[in-house]
């Protein structure tokens, strides 16, 4: 599982697949104060990005991958 959840933080790494979107979405809904550590993401599926668009969890580290980082900028900067 490329996403590790703790009580206060979700750490994404590698390639986040569509199958994980549901789990991530659940966690984000239940943990609105939880922070997202995205530094290690290499790619996320569009469904994952959608979860990040509709929830407002704080992002503690943006992805190092430039494409993923630009996606985040698009959905979270405005």
């Amino acid at each position: 599982m490329p996403v590790k959840f703790t009580r206060t933080k979700a750490e994404f790494s590698g390639e986040c697949t569509v199958e994980e979107a549901e789990t991530i979405f659940e966690w984000l809904r239940k943990t609105p104060k939880g922070e997202l550590h995205l530094a290690g993401v290499t790619h996320f599926h569009a469904a994952i990005l959608q979860t990040l668009m509709i929830t407002q969890n704080k992002i503690s580290a943006m992805p190092r991958d430039s494409f993923a980082a630009e996606c985040m900028r698009q959905v979270r900067s405005a």
């Binding site: 590698g14 390639e15 697949t17 569509v18 199958e19 290499t42 790619h43 599926h45």
Partner: protein, 121 residues
């Protein structure tokens, strides 16, 4: 390592695909028709990508897609066919295929298309 399931009734094509894909670092599983492919999947195989021929005995590519979709909801499926008409492709797409390759498949084109549907490839 990503696993690709190649479904084709031609021994030759399966061999060519296997060689090309393994050379690129994929794990390759093979089935000679839709029924065998379904057996592999119901047996627990969870490929990251399925590449299937359209015309096969027993269960053809379209029927395979129909049967696979309920089990593997999000897995990309590419169909390979000699047929140049768009109708079969469109039908495959309607049934849940992700894209297609035209026979004869050259390895370069194959990899380009795989990259389009399989992340990290």
């Amino acid at each position: 390592m990503k696993t690709i399931l190649v479904v084709d009734d031609s021994d030759l094509i399966r061999w060519v695909m296997k060689t090309a894909l393994e050379g690129e670092g994929f794990k390759v599983e093979m089935a000679e028709d839709g029924v065998k492919a379904i057996e592999l999947i119901t047996g627990g195989l969870k490929p990251d990508l399925i590449i299937t021929d359209l015309n096969m005995p027993n269960m053809d590519g379209l029927a395979l897609i129909q049967n696979v979709r309920p089990m593997l909801r999000f897995t990309p499926i590419l169909v390979v066919s000699t047929e140049s008409q768009a109708s079969k492709r469109d039908e495959a797409k309607k049934l849940g295929a992700t894209g297609w390759l035209t026979k004869p498949v050259n390895p370069e084109d194959l990899l380009k298309v795989i990259r389009r549907v399989l992340p990290g490839a």
